[in-house]
């Protein structure tokens, strides 16, 4: 049996899944200490059927894995409850890094070029470093092109040991991909949330222990894969944004769409939008954006739009504006200000609360002869148009991802949706209206109320690693593993694949992940030429244990 726990901003959900059956679900309010909410959810989960202790204990014994999805890291960032970080970078020549990082970094000496050659060796001004590091518990280091050669970054890390940081994060170990700024920011945010995250992990372990659940615990990552708790301590930044990822996986588990689909998770405050092709959620061509900064965190191609059932409504000269502020509860539920939900209730698109109060809410905005329904229509139209603009921007962003070959161009990259799927409390109203507007069919899967926890419970473990080999320089590097070694005597794509698979397998074993076969997600091979003579090859290979769900489940609706 699999246990999934989703610690959201408002609710903490838990589900227990056996095969394709959802055994039980529970919901409780998220508590400031996290722990309380989890414990309450667990207690509700196991007492739902009011079974006696023996049966409950037997059930707990059958749990093989627990997966937590949480917004805790995001919240820490949003509320600025993060640690001060000593950030040291080796930017070398190139674009100015001013304003690219959350803090002004210490600029260490050292430069690696695009072929991985050391142009300048690492060096620091220790007195200055000591001064800048005063009062900082954690550090992050990053160097341009360190994914091609980690020697400077490792040396810098070594030099900083003297400062006795609690933890030092290296950019090139967090991502093997090119993008110095994103890697640096990943390292920075990992450091910034580290102590908070470590504390969170302790809380989780403690609450599970207290409830005698001893199965291995994983955390859900933004890319929809899971990672064992201990492993995630090496990359806390990956645990950000897992809420939206969980909802995407939840949809995949409940009702994977077979056609090109847009899924919308409509909550009280936000709507999370994701794209699907051939039953798979699309991954973002770039990394996630955290607190306004680009990171190397792999994530789904998603947008979180400040628009939900509780969104405030304003009428301006140009028309209605919905969100991004939250008004509180709908007036139909006794709230004080008109919300988007009141408009849906007025139009009969959803049915909760008191219809009369919702209509009164709409009346507040009526001008002249306007009826409540006309007002509600205009409000919904404004909301739908706002979502459509975001969708259009997402289609554009998807369409411009880098294309390197003529074949890519001919293949094209236009995303054409054929279906809308809505989950979350306000989905029935909003997504149906959007479907009318976009002339697309709409599906609202059953069981969508706890989609996030279901997604977490069923998420597959993932690992990603890259290998780059340069046969002229006679070395290969796997940055995520910190490996740089001489090439074997005979080297080609297959050998590269074997080397990388071996490392992924070893890492999977270390973390006790039952690893499926790693798949190739990117491959490039170039002949290098010197003086019109072929001098060698550059091979780039990226492999991954693909994210996804372990099994599909049959949804069921429960009233909480």
């Amino acid at each position: 049996m699999l246990l999934g726990i989703d610690v959201g901003g408002t609710f903490t959900d838990a589900v227990l899944i056996d095969g394709d059956v959802i055994c039980s679900m529970a919901k409780s309010e998220t508590t400031p200490d996290i722990l309380g909410g989890i414990l309450l959810s667990l207690d509700r989960l196991f007492s739902a059927e009011k079974l006696d202790k023996e049966i409950i204990d037997a059930e707990k014994m059958r749990i093989t894995r627990v997966v937590i999805s949480s917004t805790i890291v995001t919240n820490a960032l949003v509320e600025n409850k993060i640690d001060q970080v000593f950030l040291a970078v080796m930017a070398g020549p190139g674009m100015s890094t001013k304003g690219q990082f959350p803090v002004e970094p210490y600029l260490a000496t050292g430069y690696i070029d695009h072929r991985g050659k050391v142009i300048t060796a690492e060096a620091i001004d220790y007195d200055l470093v000591k001064k800048m590091a005063t009062g900082k518990k954690v550090a992050a280091v990053s160097g341009k092109f360190s994914v091609r050669n980690q020697i400077n970054e490792k040396a810098l890390r070594g030099d900083l040991k003297k400062c006795n940081f609690l933890k030092i994060f290296s950019g090139s170990e967090l991502s093997g991909e090119l993008n110095f700024i994103r890697r640096t920011n990943s390292a920075y945010f990992s450091a910034a949330v580290y102590t908070k995250y470590a504390d969170f992990i302790r809380q989780i372990k403690k609450s599970l222990n207290e409830r005698e659940i001893n199965a291995p615990v994983h955390i859900l990552k933004a890319d929809g894969g899971t990672l064992p708790l201990e492993a995630s301590l090496e990359q806390p930044v990956e645990a950000v944004f897992t809420g939206p990822a969980a909802s995407v996986l939840g949809i995949e588990a409940l009702k994977p769409p077979s056609v090109n689909t847009i899924s919308l998770d409509v909550g009280g405050t936000t709507t999370d939008i994701a794209f699907w092709e051939k039953g798979q959620p699309l991954m973002s061509p770039k990394g996630a954006v955290l607190a306004g900064f680009n990171t190397a965190v792999r994530a789904f191609h998603m947008r979180s739009l400040g628009l939900g059932g509780d969104s405030v409504i304003i009428r301006t000269k140009e028309g209605f504006v919905v969100g991004p502020e939250r008004a509180g509860r709908a007036m139909a539920l006794g709230g004080r200000a008109p919300t988007l939900s009141d408009a849906f209730i007025t139009l009969g698109l959803v049915s909760f609360g008191e219809g009369r109060l919702a209509r009164e809410a709409m009346k507040l905005y009526a001008r002249g002869e306007e009826t409540e329904k006309q007002v509600a229509h205009a409000v919904v139209e404004a909301a739908v148009k706002k979502i459509k603009r975001t969708i259009d921007e997402m289609v554009y962003q998807w369409g411009i991802q880098p294309v390197y070959t003529v074949n890519d161009i001919i293949a094209g990259n236009l995303f054409k949706p054929e279906l809308l799927i809505g989950v979350g409390g306000a989905a029935p109203g909003l997504v149906k209206a959007l479907g009318d507007y976009m002339h697309l069919p709409v599906e609202i899967p059953v069981g969508a109320m706890v989609a996030n926890a279901i997604g977490a419970a069923l998420a597959k473990p993932t690992l990603t690693a890259t290998l780059r080999a340069d046969t002229t320089e006679n070395y290969y590097i796997i940055p995520e593993a910190g490996i740089k070694a001489k090439l074997p005597h005979y080297f080609n794509k297959q050998v590269a694949q074997e080397l990388l698979t071996a490392w992924l397998q070893a890492a999977a074993n270390k973390w006790q992940i039952i690893a499926p076969v790693a798949e190739i997600v990117a491959y490039e091979e170039f002949a290098t030429i010197h003086d019109y003579i072929s001098s060698g090859k550059i091979i780039y290979l990226k492999m991954q244990l693909q994210p996804g769900v372990l099994s599909h489940v049959i949804g069921r609706e429960v009233a909480f």
């Binding site: 070398g92 020549p93 190139g94 674009m95 100015s96 001013k98 690219q100 430069y111 070029d113 695009h114 072929r115 142009i119 341009k144 092109f145 090119l178 993008n179 110095f180 700024i181 994103r182 770039k286 680009n294 369409g399 411009i400 991802q401 880098p402 294309v403 390197y404 070959t405 003529v406 074949n407 161009i409 001919i410 990259n413 490039e524 170039f526 002949a527 290098t528 030429i529 003086d531 019109y532 003579i533 072929s534 550059i538």
Partner: protein, 437 residues
Amino acid sequence: MPNLGLVFFPAFDWMISPTHPERQERLLYTRDQLLEEGIFDLPQIREYRPRMASIKDLERVHIGIPSIAKLITPAHLVSAGGCLTAADAVMRGEVKCAFALVRPPGHHAMRVVYGIRGFCTINIEAVMVEYLRSKYGVKKIAIVDTDVHHGDGSQDIFYHDPDVLYISFHQDGRTLYPGTGFPNEAGSPAALGMNLNLPLLPGTGDEGIHRLFDGLIRPVLDEFNPEIIINSAGQDNHFSDPLASMNVTAQGYASLAAKLKADIAVLEGGYSVEAALPYVNTGIVLAMAGMDYSQVIEPDQTALHLQSTECNQRVDQLIDQVGQLWTDREILRKEAMSKCGRQWQRNKSIYYDEEGISENQRETAHYCENCSGYLTIETTAANTRFGDQNAYIVVFNRDTCSICRENAVALALKAKKTGKWDNILIQDKTKSIVANI
């Protein structure tokens, strides 16, 4: 609005041959540098995916023999299409300027095309110019060609066009391919002074090209006051380029881009793929995006030399000589027009270095009082991919009047009657077609 629209297309699956300078890997290190710097994430830059140009787009410029479609690869349609994407981005006001960082290049491709010459099959800037005219009605255009090689293709295509100012600085043709590009090649009588060639001494560096820009190119551009400035942004003036002998640095190129403020830049040559292109391109991109490029410095500067004093002397000489030509252009044009009467003719021997094709061409500009006239071209070529080829060609301009059209068609029919020509072709820019009659 973002400052720069960037169309990046490295064509990793296109090459002339595996060890040719125009091979798959050419923009690999540039791609790596741009990605590693995080260029594509900058809010000042909006990325565009290149579209494919159509055969019609190409036929507004080129007459391919036997046909342009038979001579190109899909990669050519993408690199030309990338230029059109860049042009659209600027003309629609989505970005202030744009850079088509694409390959294959184009500035050695002439109006008549039999194959690849100087690594080029179609002239992607010229295709963009004609597109700007037919789609957006742009009239006055300046092209500043900063490639080390003389852009003989661009010169050929715009030689009769008084509304296109073509300025090229390059390593002196006596020391480098294609061997042309001297100040006396200044345009046909109707467009005299609109083709400004500035051959520099080998070894010229940042100092020389900036002296030339400040002393001549900037004032000429200011006076011409074009609606659009295009930069044929070749990068083989770089001190490490294996094909040429100049001394320009990434800083030299970037600060030139900052001064020039081109509306659209298009990559041309540049074959120091590891030591120069990653830095020059980063520098140009940052400069066009209005960002700080002062730290973009090549790590390896061992091949960089100070330019000799003769280099600046040549620059000063060009500023005088070509400056005078520019100042006197109206008078010179009148003189030349009255001297040649209703027709002006030139003979060309064109060699296609990649394919060993030799072409002989006679081009005649026919003048008219009511319009800009038309061209007739007689061309024969040996050793093409399709054997020996020839054609009699009539080219209508946008404003060619009905009388001229009748006269031209009569000439074409007369040529057909001789039985000498395998192809009788009429290019009509307003209809974007080349028709065989």
